[in-house]
Amino acid sequence: MIEVLEKLVHLPQRGEYMEIRLENIVSTTIRVQNGVVEKIRVEADKGGYIRLLTPRGSWWFESFQDWDNLQERVEKAISGASLLPKSDIEVVRKPPVREEKKVTLADDFRFKSLKDKTSLLLEYNQIFKEISPLLVSSLVEYRDEFREIYLANSDGSLIYWEKPDINLNFTATARKGDNIEVYRNGVAGKTGFELVKNQEQLAQEVGQKALLLLEAPSFSGGMYDVVLDPVLAGVFIHEAFGHLSESDALYRNEELKKIMTKGRRVSSPVLNVFDDGSLDNLRGSSPYDDEGIPTGRTYLIKNGYLSGRLHSRETAFLMQEEVTGNARTINYRFPPIVRMTNTAIEGGEPTKEDLFSDIERGLYAVEYIGGNTALELFTFSAAYGYLIERGKIKELVKDVVLSGNLFQTLDKIDAVANDFRWTEVGGCGKGGQMGLPTPTGSPHIRLREVLVGGSGND
C-alpha cells in the first residue's frame, strides 16, 4: 500500500496540501444484559479519505470505502477542488516523515475466541444477580478494536501505525418503585485482553453503589466548598479549560484571542495543566497526530498563567504558532480537527487529607456522568457525592451538578493534592465526532464557594 500512496502524494502540482488516509478497523462489541447475550457485533470496516487544501485556500474532503482506483479519485479531487470558492486557509508544511509503528499486545484480543470473550462477560453478569433483587438490570459491555492506519501527505510523509483499544463497562440499575438509579464504571486501555480479566471486584462495587444511591438523598443546591476526586477533576479541566485551549475555538475570534492571551493570569497560582499525546500507552496517545505531526507535551496553564494551546496545521499557520500534534479524527469518515489527547492537572504538595481538613461545610464530588461546555459556560454531573462537615466525610448524596463560569471557577481552585492518577474510561464528542478517547488525569483538587445544582430542596 505504501508504494501506491508514495506515487499519489506527488500528484498535486500547484502547491496544494493533500492527505490520504486509509484505515482498516476490525472490532468486536458484546453486550450482556440480565444474563442474556443481547448483542454480539463483529465488524470489518474499511475506508479512507482524501483531504485537499486548494491553492485558492479552501478544503476539499472526500471519504470513501473502496481502496481501488485511488489514483482516479485523487485526480478527480484535484480537479473538483479547483472549482471551490476562494478562501484564506493555509497550513503549516513540514519536512517528510517515514515511519512504520507496529504494536505487540501481551494477550492479543484478536486471537481470543468469541466464546472466551462472551463467557467472561456472562461470569461478570452473574455477580450482579447475586448482589440484590433490587438490581433490576445489569449490563456488561465489551468492545475491542484494532486499527491499521496509513497516512500519506504532500509533504512526502508516509506513516503506518496500529492502534489497539479495549474497554469493559458495567452498568447497574437499582429500582424501588419509581425511584431508579443507574451507576456505571469500567476500564479502558490501549492494551490486550489482560485488562478486562479479573474485574470481579469492580463489578461488585458497581452493583453495591447503585443500591447505595437508591437510599441516598438528593443533594440540595447552593454555595459550597467542594473537593473533586481525580476522576471528576480531570473531566472538569477537560471541559472547562481544555476545550477553550483548542485553537479552532478562537483562531478567527479576535475577542476570544484577547481573553486567551498567553501570559494572562487565568487561574489561581496552584494550577498547572498540560496535554500530552506522546505518553506511553494512554488511550489518547499516538506517535503522530492525524496530520502526521509528532505528538508532544503542551502546557496550557503554568502556575496560573496561560502558557499554550492546541493546534492543527491550519490553526497554527493562521496564529503563527508552532504545531502541537493535536489534529485528530475518529475515523476515515471525518476530517481531523483540533482535539485534546491526554489532558491533566499536575499533582501538587498537600496530601488528599489536607484538602478536607479545614472545610466547615462542603461537598466531596466523585466521578462523573458527563460534562459539556459552551466556551465560558460549563456543566458537569458527578456520579455521586458526600457531604463534608468539619473536615470529615459524611452522608452520601446524589444528583450533584457542577456548573458555572470558567474563569471565575478556575480562580476558586485553592489546593491541588499529590495523589495524581489517570482515568482512561470515557470519550469526547466535538463537531459530530463522538467517542474519541481523551483520557484525563488529576489529583484531588479543592474549590472554594462554588454554585452546585441539586434537586433536594423541591
Partner: protein
Amino acid sequence: MIEVVDLLKKRGIAGDLFTQEVFNQVVNYEANVFKSYEKEERRGHGLRIINPEGKLGFYAFNRFSNPQEVVDRALEVSQLGDRVDFSIPTYPSTWEWEDFVDPRIENLEAREMIELGDYILSRIREDYPQVLVDVTIGAGREEKSLLNHHEEELKFARTFFEIGVTANQTREGDILEVYAERSWGSRDINIDDIVEEIISKLEFSQRVVTLNSGKYPVIFTPWGSLVLFLPLLYGLNGKNWVFGRSPLQNKEKKVVFSSLFSLEEVQEPWALGSCPFDDEGIITKTQRYLVDKGSLEGALWDLWSAAKRGIKPTGNGFRGSYRDLPEPGFSSLRVKNGLRDSSTLIGELEEGLIVDSVLGLGQSNIASGYFSCNVQLGFYVKEGEIQGRVKDVMISGNAYQALLNLKEISRNSRWIGGRILLPYLLVEPIEINA
C-alpha cells in the same frame, strides 16, 4: 447481495440482510469564512440470522468478499447468541409505497449550496457585523433495503436537506452563542426563517439581566423542550420496559401527564424519520397515539422487545446504521399543539423564564426523569416583555413532573431535527438556581 440470502435459504437458516447506502455532501463556513466542501459515500450491510436452535447471530461489513464467509461469521456469533422469541418477518409483495426523494436535492450542486451559505452569512452580518457565523449545509440521499431468506425485498429511499447556523458574539467576560437549525426531506426549507430566528435571538440577547433564585413559570421553546423529551423517550423505549427500568412501564392506559399533552407518532411526508416500514420490515402506522390527553397509550417496540413482552411489534425497530442491530426508536413524532401563539403566552407571563437551550442535556438521571442543567440561552420575562438574556442560571426538576404540570401549549410549533414537531410548553413551577 441476493447470493447471501440465497445461501441462507439453501442452508435452512432464517435471516435478513439490511443494506444502507448514503451519499452526502456538505459545505461548511467557519467564523464568516468559507471553509470546506465535503463529500461522503457510504455503503454497508448487517446480516442478522436466527440459527436452527433459535439463537441470534449478526455480522456487519462494508467490504463484501463472498457469501460463504459472511454467513459463517454470523453463524459463529449465533452459537453464543440469545435464544430469541421472534421470527424474521415476511414482507407483503403486493403492497406499494412511495419514496421521499426530491430531485432538487439529488441534483443540488456545490455551487448552489455555497450561494445559500453566502446569503445566510450576509443577511446576519448586515444586522450584526460583530458576530462570527458558522454555517453547515448538508444535502444527500439515503437508501435502505431489506432482503430476507424468503428472497423478498423491501427498499426505501429518501433525500435529506439540513442547515445549521451558529452565531457567536464574544466580549470580555461574555461569550454568547445562538443556534438555529432546519432539517427536512425536501428542498423546501425557508432560509429567511432561520436567518430571522438567529437575528431575533441575537436581539433579545444584547441585554444581560439577572434574576433571583426561586420557583418560576418557564416557557420551553421547541428546541428547549428536548430537556423534557429525552427522559420521556427513554421511558417510552420498549426495551427499557422489558428490563424493568422505565418509570412508564405498567402505566398503560393511565393518565400520567397533563390532559393538555398528546404525543403522536406520524408518517408525515418529508419529515426525516417518516418511513413506510421500520428497519426490520414491519409496516409503520400512518398515525398512532403514544400519549392521548395525558393518558399513556403505547410505547416503542421492536421485534426483540415485543417478543419478550409477548405483544405485537409497533414498527419501531430502527438501526443507528448498518452496523447496528435494531433497537426501539421512533419515525417522526408530533406533540399536539394548543390554541394560542407563543407570543401571547409570553405576553401574559407576569414573571418567568424562556428556556431555548441548555448545557448538559442528557447528563442527569434520564431514567428517573430528573434534570439539572445550565441554561445556555434563556430570556427573563417580566410583565409580558422579554427583559434580556440570563447567565449562570440552572434549572432543575423532573421531566415527568413537568409534563404533568403543563399549563399551556402554544399553537405554533417547529420541527426539531426534522423529526419531532414541538410547540412551546409553559410549565409551572420550575426550580431556578441563579
